[in-house]
Amino acid sequence: MKSRAFPLLMTTLVFALLYLFCLTQYSSFASMRVVCNLLRNYAYLGIPAIGVTFVILSGGIDLSPGSVIAFTGVFCALMIERNGMHPLVVFAIILVIGTLFGATMGSIIHYFKIPAFIVTLAGLFLARGGAYVLTTDSISITHQFYVDVSNIVYVFPDGGRFTFAAGAFVIVLLVGIFLAHYTRFGRNVYAMGGNETGALLQGVPIGRTTITIYALSSFLATFAGIILSLSKRSGDSTIAMGAELDIIAGVVIGGTLLTGGVGYVVGTFIGILLPGVIHTYLTLDGSLTPWWIKIIIGVLLFGFIGMQMLLSSQFNPLKLIRIPRRAAA
């Protein structure tokens, strides 16, 4: 019961129960249509969330993904529509820019010892501002390549459309799991998050790992921006506003501790989809007003954190009576 996987198990259980509940209310939850829509609609949050999981596992934080997504979308739209470049060339350029952006943030965090929160906050402003500078218009993309990509789709017998975005989400998830649990890089990330000094003494290259982590996070955010650009077929500088907080909430709901060192990439996958299931339910229900979803997600977040606190290995019910003193120590 005190295993590190416990929060993940609980999240999975809650997700399963919630899904079952939805299933009893609306039979359409059994269709691949709902599943595929979930994957497609949440790909742009889920892909950067997997990058942010690595950042949080290492004990850092990344607030910039939402802005990076917006910048990517606007950059792609401008380069393709105004400069007539081929989308694949543009994608390659923006992925390099995005990765360098993340590597720069990682370097500043590592070499100049400025807190990650503040550096990535500046990154948030910089990327969003960059998108505004490029253009404040919403530009639609009409390039043939975009049409071709949107035709890459596997249609299930019941009409569920497993699109390119959904496929990319699943592939990134699998690569993320591989990176976290089967590579030296993944080990280093966990070691750093568990105890940075200890990791350093064990010979973990802290600097290189930090820079790689933030580069990876921004790379995935850029990739998500491309995916969103492909499915929206437009670039808009105000898109994905506040996405960074949905992403962090998803990672935390997925059982990753913000202190670092504990968590699973697959947990993030569930943590991101959970609000999606609620959203789908509320949309089908139709009687609940949109602000309820925000309140419910807040309550869920509280519930999950509370559960993790209660079930963490340090918890002792007898000490509840002396809560203030426990809190102090």
Binding site: K113, I118, G129, P290, W291, I293, L301, P324, A329
Partner: protein, 354 residues
């Protein structure tokens, strides 16, 4: 290797600090940044420093900076204390939205003729501030008694708070006409906008509270080492609840200022990104995110740096879309200058060239 006497002299000079002055003092860099930005603004716009009296109201860029900065300065007061305890309050922006939504919904009942005492403007303001205090209490409870990390504890309210504000106004952005409530945001006393008085009053009040009593010291000790403070007999949980509550109150006041300025409550946009601006200002002001030493006036200075920068961009007629980019770059520059590692990096760079 330098000769011994010269090294000793250097050490003595470093100790001397010339009346508290030292290049390692973060305050020096903040003041320098503000002065440089103001001078650049003056170079761009020749009448930047001029202040005129029009219709009993002082008009000028400097007044605009102070007036425009007031909401964030209010936030920065609470945020400084929270950060000094090694915490962070992400919810202030949504608390602004909640407080202004509460105030405007109640005041519109009063305008519509409801006579109950809790619809009176003065009481409405108190209720709105109390709403902020309750939000702060909730945050403080989560952080201090449930041991939830501050960033997550306040993230809960950040996400659900906007929903709560929208629920209060039923998804609308109601306007109001009540002059008493509007006075908080747009009133003028002796030619100076009321929000400036409010900021100064709060700054002085809170400074007196933390510096004329032991509270400031206790806050710093909790921020530096909560466990040691606990063993030294400090009730750090109570201190934490106190600072989060104060942050909620400050956020509510900021919400009223913003609502008063535009005579409406916008639950969707009010205070959006305000928490990030406040945190930036506090850090620019030299309070470390790792807790400990804090200075409320330096945080206010941090807000003024950001605000004069934005005002400068406005008068320079640079395209307003560049605002965020310039803000990010200047903020990063100030933070880098404050970083010991960056300064020693620069020193090494110049030494190599020499």
């Amino acid at each position: 290797m330098q000769p011994q006497p010269i090294l000793q002299l250097k050490e003595k000079l470093a100790d001397l600090k010339l009346g508290g002055f030292s290049w390692n003092n973060r305050a020096v860099w903040s003041v320098a940044a503000l002065i440089i930005i103001l001078i650049v603004n003056r170079l761009i716009s020749p009448n930047f420093f001029s202040i005129d009296m029009v219709n009993g109201r002082l008009i000028g860029s400097l007044i605009n900076i102070l007036d425009g900065a007031s909401a964030i300065i209010l936030l920065s007061i609470g945020m400084t204390l929270v950060i000094a305890t090694k915490g962070i309050d992400l919810s202030v922006g949504t608390v602004m939205a909640i407080a202004s939504a509460v105030a405007v919904m109640l005041i519109n009942q009063y305008e519509a003729g409801a006579g109950e005492f809790y619809y009176m403007p003065g009481v409405v303001i108190l209720i709105a501030v109390a709403a902020g205090a309750i939000c702060g209490l909730w945050n403080g409870f989560l952080v201090a008694y449930l041991n939830i990390q501050p960033i997550i504890a306040t993230l809960i309210l950040l996400i659900s708070g906007r929903g709560i504000a929208q629920m209060i106004t039923q998804g609308q952005s109601p306007t109001f006409t009540n002059e008493t409530l509007a006075f908080i945001g747009r009133g003028v006393i002796l030619g100076v906008p009321f929000p400036i008085y409010l900021c100064l009053a709060m700054l002085i009040l809170v400074t007196l509270l933390v510096r004329r009593s032991a509270i400031g010291l206790l806050i710093e000790s909790v921020g530096i080492n909560a466990r040691a403070s606990f063993y030294a007999g400090i009730n750090s949980a109570r201190i934490k609840v106190m600072v989060y509550t104060l942050s909620g109150i400050c956020a509510a006041l900021a919400g009223l200022v913003v609502a008063g300025e535009v005579k409406s409550a916008d639950p969707h946009k009010a205070g959006e990104f305000a928490e990030l601006d406040a945190i930036l200002a506090v850090v620019i002001g030299g309070t470390s995110l790792n807790g400990g030493r804090f200075n409320l006036f330096l945080s206010a200075l941090g807000v003024l740096i950001i605000q004069s920068l934005l005002t400068g961009l406005y008068v320079s007629k640079l395209h307003p879309t560049a605002n965020l980019v310039v803000k990010a770059i200047v903020v990063l520059a100030v933070l880098l200058l404050q970083s010991d590692e960056f300064r020693s990096f620069l020193k090494r760079l110049f030494r190599r060239r020499a």
